[in-house]
């Protein structure tokens, strides 16, 4: 009667995995596009204060970051426990903030310069004294759009 292939090999046919690399590459490209490289290594501890009325930082290219906080555990032996300011990859003094802003502004596209934004990433246990000093420096440098970085409170 019917001729069924009874004598053929039995067992699972092997799964074709030749497209798996393409799938993974797609994922890879997705992540490369939505994420940004961490630009600086943190030299100060930064634990964000908590708040509820938050706004998103719009354009990354317009934002300059200033970090403030105690030096990290490894650096505390060298730098002490005082609150420090970190600009890019190094520790800095309040007096350097103004020059830093000017420099960053120079590096921006000219049409973007008026929209410059400064994000203050300040540790939540910092005393306001140093924050106020930095704010005054920012005013002197005409960097008036600032953003206090904070985390969402549940």
């Amino acid at each position: 009667m019917g001729k069924f292939n009874k004598g053929g090999k039995k067992g699972m046919p092997e799964l074709n995995t030749s497209s798996l690399p393409d799938l993974i590459f797609t994922m890879l490209f997705f992540f490369m596009i939505v994420t940004t490289m961490r630009e600086v290594t943190m030299k100060v501890q930064f634990r964000a204060p908590q708040a509820t009325e938050l706004e998103k930082l719009e354009k990354k290219s317009l934002v300059t970051f200033i970090y403030m906080g105690k030096p990290t555990q490894e650096l505390q032996a060298k730098m002490g426990q005082e609150t420090r300011i970190q600009l890019n990859d190094r520790f800095a003094d309040v007096s350097e903030v103004q020059d830093y802003i000017y420099q960053e502004r120079e590096n921006m596209k000219e049409e973007d310069q008026p929209f410059m934004q400064v994000s203050l990433k300040v540790d939540k246990d910092t005393k306001m004294g140093i924050v106020t000093d930095v704010k005054q420096a920012l005013r002197q440098a005409y960097a008036l759009n600032i953003n206090y970085s904070a985390a969402q409170r549940n």
Binding site: T17, S18, L20, P21, I24, F25, M27, L28, F31, M32, V34, T35, T36, M37, R38, P49, Q50, A51, T52, E53, L54, E55, K56, L57, K60, V63, S119, L120, V122, D123, K124, D125, T126, K127, M128, G129, V131, T132, K135, Q136, L138, R139, Q140, Y142, A143, L144, N145, I146, N147, Y148, S149, A150, A151, Q152
Partner: protein, 196 residues
């Protein structure tokens, strides 16, 4: 000579997936998702050294809400001690002045077409935040946050009453109208040195 057709040996591609995975994991660990959020603020321009400080700009006392934070993170609003949880209600009452209290900000007529012509707006009110050198940053952010929350709630209420939808869902023009009705005026006073 009989020539056998040579067949290309296929390249074994099973490990490309592993290589791609490793790249993927590398990028996942070195990058950060964009989750930067915060409280946006605008600083006043620096004082001009050529212009003599004018101290005689008289702001009527009823138009100013003084919020002071001391070094122990205690809060003084106006002339009374207050807990942070009470600040929002106090600020809302101050900004809106719903009962035309003589001790709360005076109202001026402002023409906002989208809200039906002339509106009574407390346009000269100022909330002044003063902090001590020893105030902790978290306490300062808490205060700023409560004040922004007070404005946001008032704007939401106004948008709900006028346009029947929350502020965030209003159109650009409607948002502007509501912003004109409740202008945000938080002033960061010139820092003072206490006890020196």
């Amino acid at each position: 000579m009989a020539r056998k057709k040579r067949s290309m040996p296929g390249i074994n591609a099973t490990s490309t997936a592993d290589i791609a995975f490793m790249l993927l994991i590398f990028f996942l660990t070195t990058t950060s998702m964009n989750t930067d959020r915060g409280l946006a603020r605008r600083l006043p321009p620096p004082p001009d050294p050529n212009v003599k400080q004018q101290d005689n700009i008289i702001v009527k006392e009823r138009n100013v809400l003084q919020v002071r934070i001391n070094k122990d993170n205690q809060l003084m609003v106006g002339s009374e001690y207050m807990d942070i949880s009470q600040l929002r209600a106090k600020a809302k009452e101050f900004i809106a002045n719903p009962n035309d209290d003589v001790n709360l900000p005076e109202k001026h007529t402002v023409n906002i077409p989208l809200l039906g012509g002339d509106c009574m707006v407390t346009k000269n009110h100022v909330i002044s935040v003063t902090n001590d050198v020893g105030t902790s940053y978290q306490a300062y952010i808490d205060v700023q946050n409560e004040l922004v929350a007070a404005y946001n709630e008032l704007r939401n209420e106004k948008a709900q009453a006028s346009f029947g939808k929350p502020y965030a869902e209003c159109s650009e023009d409607e948002q502007k109208a509501v912003r004109d009705f409740h202008p945000q005026k938080i002033s960061e006073a010139e820092p003072k040195k206490y006890g020196k």
